[in-house]
Each structure stands twice: as C-alpha cells, then as structure tokens.
Symmetry: C2
Subunit: 138 residues, 2 copies
DNA sequence: TATTGATGTAACAAAAATAGTTACATCTAG
DNA sequence: CTAGATGTAACTATTTTTGTTACATCAATA
C-alpha cells in the first residue's frame, strides 16, 4: 500500500487552491488534515521543492505556482514519493538458476508497464478535478 | 512503494511453471530467490489460499492449478496483497472544514480510477508472459 | 526595534509494515 | 522408524512511515 503522503498532499493543495485569499497556516492545514503541523510543513517543503507551491519563511500562506488544472496527481505523486519504482523487487536472485538469472529484467518490464498505466491515469487527474469533486453540485 | 512479495511470488510461480517435473523444495526456491525458506513457504501458503497452486504437506513440489497463461499478475497481486486500496488515505479529516469534509470521497474516486488502470494492465500480464521473457530468444 | 507568530528543519520517538529466523508439529515416502 | 519435507506460530530485526519536541530564522507590526 502506498503511504498517505500523496493523499495528504492532495488535501493540502486543494486547501491552498480553494482558499487563495486566506493566509493558510500549517496549523490550520494540520487541523483540517488531522495531523501534526510539522508533518504538514514537511510535505509543504516537498511540494515547494517540486515547484508546485510557493511559500515564504516566517510568513503564513502558500500559493500554487500554476493553475490547479495544470497540477496533476502524478505531479503530486512524484513530489512526495522519491522512489522511481512502484514495485519493489527482491535483490540478488541466484544467477545460476535460469529463472533467477533473468527474473529481474522480466519483472522490471512487467511492473514498469503496469506503473506506466497507473501514471498515465494519475497524469490525467488534476487538483482542479479534485476541487470540482469537492464543490460542484453533481 | 509496494512490497517485494509480488515480485517474489511471480518468481516462485515462474519456477514452478518452468520446472513441472522437478520436485521443487522451498529450500531450492529460497536459494533462487535468495531469501529464507520460511519466507517462501509463507508465500506458497498465500498462493495456495488463492488457489493458484497446489502443494502437499510433507511432500516436496508444487504445481499450478491452471495454465500459466491463465494466471495474471493481478491474480498474484491480490493473492499476496490483502489490502483492497492501493493508496492509503489519512483518517478523520476535519468535517468542519469544507475541504476536509469531502476530501475522502474525492480521493477515493481519483485513486480508485488510478488503481483500476494499474489493475487492468496487471490483469493483461501473465506468468506465461514472464516465462516468454525469461526463455524466448528475442 | 522588541515582540509575536509564523516557517524551515534537525533530531528524536513511536508505530506500523516488512522481512528474516527459530522452533516444532505433522506429513510423505522409503 | 527414519529422513526429509511442508505448515505455522512466535519471535526478532529492519525499514518505513508518522508523530513530536526543540529551536533557528524570518515577517509584520505595535
């Protein structure tokens, strides 16, 4: 199972996008997410490093660097999940076994294709889409 | 990142499929995977519970319950990954916050669709496909 | 310009998930 | 009956994730 960082990061970005005029503090965000403010600030740091948001040290508030429609869940995923591969593969399979010898390559291909499918879908989903889910009357 | 169980389970099934005549012991499989035999036996237990393989207590060897072309990586994934949801979502977001109130549903939809995409791809990949990767001349 | 309240981060602690190990009951086959 | 295997529980170790404490630093303003 993938960690909650992606979910929390989307929550954070939805807050920022939906309250562009407020000065969102990490304390307020934390109370909405229901966690510790430092957890929020850590994620804000990652989102900033990924250039999805802007913040100023000492000053409350954060803003998106681009339109919510141009921030995909894949962007968020990559921002908070440093690992390249979705699936972990066991190390050092036995090279003297015909299966062990080639399994790494086979798994990398199969899992890579699956990850591609996931990422394609994630790249089609945006923060703007989340906002619509949250606020549009169906 | 998803645990190595899926990768190891595919490795195991590829071994079983490729050595239908040998009496594969958990010790041999462990030496190919490069781990402890008990780890293998645990996974064999899950694969058996998912009805992908058959084994006999006390007797070496395992066999697939159906053709390698009819065992998808999605079958394997579900066999060794009990959790339904690929993405974890933080619990108890604040219902008094407009975003916190609806975020769960929005995330479930977005992540659910992404998981669907992943699973569709995994269901199109089979143990037979892995065998071809391993043994076919390209 | 001193105070208040915020961010940024390091360091640590706690909790949860994963993987590895030991031990042993039980079964199969010779 | 014995040798060697599976099936599983219980424990340990490791790693990852999440939560917390502490504090340096910055911004705004009274």
């Amino acid at each position: 199972m993938i960690n909650t960082r992606v979910a929390v990061a989307v929550h954070i970005l939805a807050l920022i996008a939906s309250k562009p005029h407020d000065d969102l503090t990490s304390d307020y965000i934390a109370s909405s997410v229901n966690t510790n403010p430092v957890v929020i600030r850590r994620l804000l740091g990652m989102l900033k490093k990924a250039e999805l948001i802007q913040t100023t040290a000492g000053k409350a508030g954060a803003s998106l660097t681009r339109d919510p429609a141009d921030i995909s869940l894949l962007d968020v995923f990559h921002a908070v999940e440093p690992k390249d591969n979705l699936f972990a593969v066991h190390g050092n399979p036995n090279p003297h076994c015909p299966v062990g010898k080639g399994i790494r390559r086979a798994l990398d291909e199969a899992f890579g294709a699956a990850q591609d499918a996931l990422e394609r879908k994630l790249s089609s989903e945006t923060i703007d889409g989340i906002l619509h889910q949250l606020f549009d009357k169906a």
